[in-house]
């Protein structure tokens, strides 16, 4: 099948039938080209949206409490609910294998903080060291609260960038190691943090959790919990596990604090993964749409190639008759037609593939929108479509070729 003579014969035929070859090539190449572009843009959109979510740890879960809204077991609605250190410890113990980072939040708003003559009122929050990871805080200077601070009940504070600007008017003054007053207690500043996306959250001061509870005189009470879960292989299981975690946690809290199971107000949960899920399903829809358009393009390409193959065989019926009269074997004729079809579609398909990839590669970095980033294509998918087209072209060529070969040469020759 792959003798040199055969190839020579084929190249001669191709060279002498330029228009036919050109039309086949264009229909195949454009099909692949469009598919590659569509898939690339789809992937780019996914990348862009994924990037948007990177700023917050995308699988964080935030819990807070409010007043009850439903009468339950003889208790009036409107009863304020407050979580405690015991709740926090219990949830941690129960979900040890799920939780990646955790922290409780013992906080108070409008706490007066002063340094020298400067003062301001800020949110002060008692947290654990892992809060840094949950909230994705970036340290501008110094460090975050650590385990030793918790154990030794060190009076240390990590201040937001905004707080630092307010209190330390002298820009060159290093706040690390300085003492500030919070609620008239002296705290040593050990770090300055910044928020990647939300500047207003830099308006906070973090202190070790036990110190905060002591300072605010709230005993064991907590105002919130913050978690991130361990990363999962795929998005679906991650969402599933986080939903399960949230469900278990709220069930426990409702039972413990005697809240009606249908009271959705008393316990607030913000599962960022669930928000992300909506975006991911949007991406999924977009990608599905692009796939659909792409597959339609390929089908159009297949139909085009098949059509051209049918015409080629029809056009060559007489030639087939001549060749048979001159002693061509039936298989050699089918082979000739198929080899030509496969060769042309393959070359054209790969040309379209390379052009599409090149365009993505060159134009990709120039795209300046938040929603598309680094458009790229799974090379194997693109390669597979090329082979589908080649296969379809070969199949579309085979049947008419087979029929043409079956025609008696004398009939084929009479065909003018």
């Amino acid at each position: 099948m792959f003798s040199l003579e055969r190839w020579q014969e084929m190249f001669e035929t191709i060279a002498k039938n330029k228009l036919r070859t050109f039309l086949t090539s264009v229909s195949v190449a454009s099909g692949i080209f469009i598919l590659v572009l569509l898939l690339g843009v789809g992937q780019g959109m996914q990348n862009g949206i994924a990037q948007e979510f990177e700023s917050d740890a995308s699988n964080s879960i935030w819990v807070w409490t409010r007043s009850t809204s439903v009468e339950y077991k003889g208790l009036n609605p409107g009863r304020p609910i407050e979580m405690t250190n015991q709740d926090y410890d219990f949830i941690n113990r129960k979900n040890e294998d799920l939780i990646e980072y955790k922290s409780s939040r013992a906080r108070n708003w409008g706490v007066v903080v002063n340094y020298g003559t400067e003062s301001g009122s800020y949110g002060v929050e008692g947290v654990f060291p892992e809060f840094q990871m949950v909230e994705n805080e970036v340290m501008v200077a110094g460090r975050f609260i650590n385990i030793r601070d918790i154990k030794e009940r060190n009076k240390v504070a990590v201040i937001g960038n905004k707080v630092r600007m307010d209190l330390f008017k002298d820009k060159n003054k290093d706040p690390i190691g300085e003492f500030i007053r919070i609620n008239n207690m002296l705290f040593k500043v050990v770090g300055v943090f910044a928020e990647k996306s939300e500047e207003r959250e830099e308006n906070r001061v973090f202190v070790p959790s036990p110190i905060a509870q002591q300072m605010f005189n709230t005993g064991q009470k907590l105002q919130g919990l913050a978690y991130t879960l361990k990363p999962e292989e795929n998005f679906e299981t991650a969402v599933l596990k986080s939903e399960k975690f949230v469900e278990n946690m709220t069930d426990y809290l409702k039972e413990k604090h005697i809240i009606a199971p249908d009271d959705d107000r008393a316990i607030g949960v913000n599962n960022t993964l669930e928000n992300a899920k909506r975006f991911y399903s949007l991406i999924f829809m977009i990608k599905a749409f692009f796939w659909w358009v792409g597959i339609c393009t390929i089908i159009a390409g297949v139909v085009g190639v098949s059509n051209i193959m049918l015409i080629i065989v029809k056009e060559r019926t007489k030639e087939i008759g001549i060749r048979k009269a001159l002693g061509a074997q039936p298989m050699s004729i089918i082979g000739m037609i198929l080899q030509e079809a496969i060769f042309v579609t393959a070359i054209a398909g790969f040309t379209g593939l390379i052009l599409g990839l090149a365009l993505l590669e060159l134009a990709g970095p120039l795209i300046q929108t938040e929603f598309i980033s680094n458009p790229s294509v799974n090379f194997n998918v693109a390669l597979a479509t090329v082979f589908i087209l080649i296969f379809a072209g070969a199949l579309a060529g085979f049947f008419p070729a087979w029929r043409a070969v079956k025609i008696k040469p004398i009939v084929a020759l009479r065909d003018e």
Binding site: E12, I322, L326, Q329, L413
Partner: protein, 221 residues
């Protein structure tokens, strides 16, 4: 084909010796083309036997038929049947391709036969750049190129004017004089008279089979 079978040939019995130049004559519908197709293995007889050079030609599958056609037979058609996108020399070389001969040798051989039909300087021309007579000469060169035992010509002069017809017949006579066996289907008496034997068909039967005095075509030229 179809449910109504039609017996075109109803009993043909004849022999052709090596080196003969035979004309098969008859009006249209007499079965002369069917006879030629059977002889050319393009068609098969429902019954009867056909020996070519001592070989029984029967129940051939496509593959063997193609081999035999390639080895034993050369075809000359009324409408020339050259491949339009191949030039003269490539057309002549085509049967050699199916004999598995290498390209270089193929082209040398093809050139030799083109020269023989007097078209050496037209070798790179495409069929549509040639006159009818020239096309038929290329077709004859092609039929000769595979060095067949028998040449089968189906109305070889049917599409040519009288003068060109005689030119082509002159060529065919020359080839026959070199010892090649040739069968010509024709309905033109003057062409038939240029052969050595005329077989007359009517309604699928041989009504007349006579050896004639050959008229040399170059007498007319």
């Amino acid at each position: 084909m179809g449910s109504n079978s039609l017996h075109v040939l109803k009993g043909i019995n004849f022999n052709v010796q090596e080196g003969e130049l035979v004309a098969i004559m008859g009006s249209s519908g007499s079965g002369k083309s069917t006879l030629l197709n059977i002889l050319g293995m393009l068609d098969e007889a429902d019954s009867g036997s056909y020996f070519l050079d001592g070989l029984p030609i029967k129940n051939l599958n496509e593959k063997i038929a193609a081999q035999y056609r390639n080895k034993f037979l050369g075809f000359i058609f009324q409408s020339f049947n050259l491949i339009t996108y191949k030039n003269a020399v490539d057309n002549v070389a085509l049967p050699l391709y199916y004999q598995g001969i290498k390209r270089k040798e193929r082209l040398e051989k093809a050139m030799y036969y083109l020269e023989k039909v007097g078209l050496a300087e037209w070798s790179t021309h495409l069929p549509n750049e040639l006159s009818g007579g020239q096309k038929q000469r290329v077709a004859i060169a092609r039929a000769l190129a595979s060095e067949p035992k028998v040449l089968l010509a189906d109305e070889p002069t049917g599409a040519l004017d009288t003068k060109t017809s005689y030119d082509v017949m002159d060529l065919i006579q020359g080839i026959n004089d070199e010892g090649k066996t040739i069968l010509i289907v024709t309905h033109e008496p003057d062409i038939a008279n240029m052969t050595k034997r005329i077989v007359n068909l009517k309604d699928g039967l041989i009504i007349d089979d006579t050896v004639v005095q050959q008229v040399k075509a170059n007498v007319h030229v």
